[in-house]
Symmetry: C2
DNA sequence: CTGTTAGCGCATTCAG
DNA sequence: CTGAATGCGCTAACAG
């Protein structure tokens, strides 16, 4: 509504609309003028830029397809709020104190941090230094911490209920070993569903695996290497990438999905539809996650002393071909 | 070697080493001092920041696993040269003129642009405006353009030779429809290998497919929907993601890889090892691509009037389980 | 060789 | 309500 137009400019300058427009534009064009975001930033003490913290090297989250879609959600939300996004790479995750100056050099107004290992001292350091920060797909008890996460417990429970409703009675929960906060939450949801169905807790097995080479495949092998009558018939994987590799490992040993084993993933990222059969999975609301994260961060930037706020978003069960009825013995 | 240490500082200030160190550090710490990158940038007219151009929304390259690894290479190289990386999102690819001011607002010193469609007016606009720019995995005839690309023709020829050496005589080249410059180059390499092997050009079929939903799967279906004696036994896919979806489609119609059909991908990104069987593919030298791109861009930044320079890097054939001998009729 | 000063290009303030 | 002055925090060129 209050968008200033050439009309007002002309009126104010006391000249015709055309004159103003032409003069201003010509002058600007001829001189090759374009405003400096840096000077503006220095004067306003605000760059309208959000920093995304990354770690360089092998373990960069940017390798993961999940990170890609999540990041995309952030990008869209930032654009909608007229914010830029910049990457801030720390030396390593451990040396938070060494990276801290880089995090507060004014290049960006606040930080977005994706699922950090639980023990990381980066977050306390940032919160202690008063750097506006929002954790994405992560949570923390610190009252200063703002974060946005999905309903891990409920989502996992829903996914497991889906398997149970198909008649499965021997289930397994497969996670890459990590100290990420969502892993235990999803594990609890897994067991909650099992117990609610009246099955013994022993109906669910938990396997933690590494993420190097084909450790996932070997974990699946170990899990399946037993008489068919004891073998799990349903596998709940903590991420689609894990599920994809698990399916490959199952195929290698002649087990068919979903005929012999049903597999559920989590995320609904690109990996979910690039495998055969396509994955049944819990879809994360990427755009909403991005929108909430950006909102919370802008609040934090507006008032850095503010208490942390949280957003917990639901996921959605997407049923595809990787799950089916439990095999009849 | 010439790294100034507390030692020199002490000598210069005429005080003991400990004194200097303690005083300086205490003062800085007590005041919570940290230098402002923005003020520094304004004064030096240099942000030591490289911009990566992205488009928001669905078609963002960040969705692709290939982009992830490539991006990671850039990140590492930038860190090694003490450069930051920021994202610059244009409105859309088309409206270059509208986005131009955002590209030259001083926030970053130059731009890295990933494989743009051939007709994009963004690149001429940027070159015309004198913005230091380097194209990544792309090339352009404009003498002002700097770019780094892989040997598409030779790589594709190598991949095809691998298939031919396995006895395949009916091949297909599968590409997502796009105006990216590497597609025709790879297609030519494909035919060059076929003709060098003494086979008729008709031994190679070319299929362009869309990238929405399962268009790839449907293209594979169309390709394979013929008597076995005419069916291609080898598929060269222009990217690993395409190959992965092709394998899924083949599995769906009961064709086994590599028993019935051999499949070669391109990139060696995360998708290559997440399928069963794992993909034979051409690995791109991500770290070298990143290093060259950053180098060329820094040259361009140092002297924007400089003529464009190029780097063409080799790829490497990685043989995995998706290729095997041609089936005997 | 050290300490001082004048911009860098904006936004914001203050007088007019 | 408009136009000129001041300062953002640093670097570079300068004089002492």
């Amino acid at each position: 509504m209050s968008v200033v137009s050439i009309r007002e400019v002309a009126a104010r300058a006391g000249v015709s609309r055309a004159t103003v427009s032409k003069r201003v534009r010509r002058a600007a064009q001829e001189l090759g003028y374009h405003p400096s975001a840096v000077a503006r930033g220095l004067a306003r003490k605000r760059m309208d830029t959000l920093g995304v913290v990354l770690t360089p090297g092998q373990s960069s989250p940017i390798d993961s397809p999940f990170f890609g879609v999540l990041f995309n959600g952030i990008l869209k939300a930032a654009a909608a709020r007229h914010q830029n996004v910049t990457l801030v790479v720390g030396e390593t995750w451990e040396s938070a104190d060494k990276s801290l100056p880089r995090f507060r050099d004014g290049r960006c107004d606040g930080l977005l941090i994706f699922y950090q290992p639980e023990g990381s001292d980066l977050i306390p350091a940032l919160l202690g230094a008063g750097v506006p920060t929002v954790l994405v797909n992560d949570r923390r008890d610190d009252p200063r911490a703002s974060w946005v996460d999905v309903e891990n417990f409920a989502s996992s429970r829903t996914a497991t209920e889906h398997l149970l409703s198909l008649g499965h009675t021997r289930l397994a929960f497969l996670a890459e070993y990590s100290a990420l906060t969502f892993v235990p939450a999803r594990q609890e949801g897994f067991f909650a569903a099992i117990e609610a169905a009246g099955l013994p807790r022993s109906a669910g097995r938990v396997v933690y695996t590494g993420f190097h080479g084909d450790e996932i495949g070997r974990s699946v092998d170990a899990l399946m290497d037993c008489p068919a009558a004891q073998r799990p018939t349903a596998l709940f994987c903590v991420a689609d990438g894990v599920a994809a590799q698990a399916i490959a490992a199952l195929a290698r040993r002649g087990l068919r999905v979903p005929h012999d084993v049903s597999v559920v993933g989590f995320n609904d990222d690109a990996a979910a539809t690039r495998v055969h059969p396509e994955l049944t999975t819990m879809r994360q609301p990427y755009d909403r996650i991005g929108a909430e994260a950006v909102s919370l961060l802008l609040e934090q930037i507006a008032d850095p002393t503010r208490r942390g706020r949280h957003a917990v978003l639901p996921t959605e069960l997407i049923v595809r071909g990787s799950t089916g009825p439990a095999p009849q013995d």
